[in-house]
Symmetry: C2
Subunit: 417 residues, 2 copies
């Protein structure tokens, strides 16, 4: 079969399963998740055997150690995956709620929260995402089409088998979760471009994957994007607080999207604050790339280029710029940022309001680390990803991001005047 | 200037106006709309003069009468436009509301409703849409980039001048509303594909326009799609009610997206019901395209093809199919429909529930005409369009569809553990 026809056939199977999956009761969907946790524990040997096939092939092909680590499962990781299924089963329902109103025309309108339908997820070679993405879709009554990295295919197929057996044993369609088993690049392209079956496509992974999806998709996409985040130290800032926030936002986990890549500092305090900050960064081995207007405050800083201000390093590197005031900071962020997470440190309420009102980002922080942009930290229980787009979902996405509404209208034979 | 650079320059001007427009108070935004109503009445002569230029050119170029009618303004239409601005000014605010919660970590999260930012709208040669689209964006604190059909360009420019003068006289940026004055096709393509400035692109118009946008856009789009809508007459239906609903849904205004294109009828009542229905249709001049399983019920019906079941006629034509039961009706609709508006006529609550649960459409009606799918009928006051996609907005879109959220997080120096 041509790869296009193969993907189309999967999408048609998904469409045929939508009705049963979307009508499954809350109890039935949670029962699947609970049973799946047990089935995963019981089937751990088969999953680990498949994982060994993937790991051996990856090692032979010279896959990087970091990727091997993401690919590898063991008993502890499988128990963690099972426990997360049980936690998900305990979360409240994200579908079914209704808002009801009546109109003078005599119609009664029910705005009902419903599943999206068919959710396609493209991700890298991380077998835990296969389970996690399927579970989020089951929880919300959606049908999942999963397309993971080819290095994890055997592991994903073993996990998929357990999921589909569990769906069937709970009276739900096996096709509620579908795995793309053919990992040619053209398969991902077909998933992005065949219109009419996929209600949303979510890329989960690195920049290259997300850019490819956003540039080429003809189906609706939720972009889980890059984070070029800033901390701005306003002239009234408490220096100790500013240093603590910068350290946390830059150093705690530099590889993640809510870590900062840039420091902005008011000129009025630069000479006093930047040397203290420089010492913190030096101790933690953070490389500084500074603008000409502040490079003298650092011993070993590199001169920052305009390119630096657009770069998400995801590493122990930080660009530094001195600004005149809050408005220059806002302009710089709105020009160079990726609308993810931005912070101001200040004791001036007017400056804080101006910053939070005018910075265009999913999450804007006052005297708080940007690292809190996270579904768990926001209290959502589960996280689909962090959206950097504005349509449908913005910032940390909980289960609600996998839902839409449907209007159900009743009357006793009303017609439009 | 190359057309690409021209569009890019407009988008940069739009981006520069976002901050002021998004921070304008509710009173300021409404004041613009009220003053604009007056300015439009006062400036009617200039608008009508520009409109005459467009009309003369269109007549010379042999533009179809229907299009000329949509293009033409007169005092009555201008007064209608001014009155709709005053109605819009009276609607409640769609931005600014906050949901607030605190977390054990010590952070306080404000989920604030905010404008999308830059809203681009591509539409046909309808000068009233120029005003309407600009007004909806002003009401919601968005910056508008408007690209209308070239036949209405002079009229749109005259309206744009009044809008921008009014924005300026109210202390808001002139660039809050921008009109694309160069109407080459490549300009529309640039608007669809330049990423990073346009937060949402909304096509308003016919099928060709919408398909072009959906197929080619690389910026986020809200699809306001076609309506291939059905009425399904279930075997327990009240025949008089079914006939009244079908007449209204088919005949009252056949050119609109919430009119029906197809009738489904249970086999158990087909022989009794279809002749009554046939008489109604014959009286109103509706052409019937019937399946082989019911063509005998009609005197002059054409045999329906599979193509007919996928067609939105927007005309006095209706396809008819006999089905075994509610499940066959649901399957037929989910396969052939466009997820817009679907109706069941029934006295059986179980059949009604099965239909409303399983039909995948923005609006599903029980014993009610599909013609109610409309922002005004739903009570939204203003309507941006009717979305047939599931992300962000579904069905009739009120002002809320032009908004998103922003998270504003406060604490006293909290960092992530």
């Amino acid at each position: 079969m041509e790869i296009f026809d193969y993907i189309l056939s999967l999408e048609k199977r998904a469409a045929a399963a939508v009705s049963e999956m979307s009508c499954a009761s809350f109890a039935a969907r949670n029962a699947v998740l609970s049973r799946l946790a047990d089935a995963l524990r019981e089937g751990a040997a088969s999953v680990l055997a498949a994982n060994k096939v993937d790991l051996d092939a990856a090692a032979e092909n010279g896959v990087a150690p970091q990727m091997l680590d993401r690919l590898a499962l063991n008993d502890t990781r499988i128990e963690g995956m099972a426990a997360s299924l049980e936690a998900l089963a305990a979360l409240p329902d994200a579908i079914g709620a209704e808002k009801v109103w009546t109109r003078e025309s005599g119609i009664e309108i029910h705005e009902r929260r419903v599943p999206l339908g068919v959710v396609a997820i493209i991700f890298e070679a991380r077998p835990n995402v296969t389970l996690d993405a399927a579970a989020l879709c089951i929880k919300t009554g959606n049908v999942a089409i999963l397309r993971g990295g080819k290095e994890a295919l055997h592991t994903s197929m073993a996990i998929r088998d357990i999921i589909c057996d569990t769906l069937e044993s709970c009276g739900l369609p096996r096709d509620g979760v579908l795995l793309v088993e053919r990992t040619e690049r053209e398969g991902a392209n077909a998933l992005m471009t065949i219109r009419g079956y996929v209600d949303v496509l979510i890329p989960r992974g690195g920049k290259g994957l997300i850019r490819n999806v956003v540039e080429n998709a003809k189906v609706p996409v939720i972009e889980t994007g890059a984070g070029n985040c800033h901390v701005y130290v306003e002239k009234s800032a408490d220096f100790d607080m500013a240093r603590r926030i910068i350290l946390n936002a830059k150093v705690q986990r530099p590889s993640v999207c809510n870590a900062i890549e840039s420091l902005l500092c008011d000129r009025a305090i630069a000479k006093e604050f930047l040397p203290l900050f420089a010492e913190d960064m030096r101790e933690r081995g953070v490389e500084i790339r500074a603008d000409a207007n502040c490079i003298d405050c650092f011993k070993n800083a590199v001169l920052a280029t305009e390119e630096d201000h657009y770069t998400e390093y995801n590493d122990l590197i930080l660009s530094v710029k001195v600004v005149e005031n809050v408005d220059e900071a806002i302009d710089h962020i709105n020009t160079h940022g990726t609308r993810h997470s931005e912070a101001i440190v200040t004791r001036d309420d007017a400056a804080a309001s101006r910053f939070t009102d005018r910075v265009d980002a999913a999450a804007v922080y006052v005297n708080t680390s940007t690292r809190f942009t996270d579904g768990g930290e926001f209290g959502y229980g589960a996280e689909i990803g962090i959206s950097t787009q504005k349509l449908h979902a913005r910032g940390p996405m909980g289960l609600a991001a996998l839902t839409t509404v449907k209007y159900i209208v009743h009357s006793n034979g009303e017609v439009r005047k």
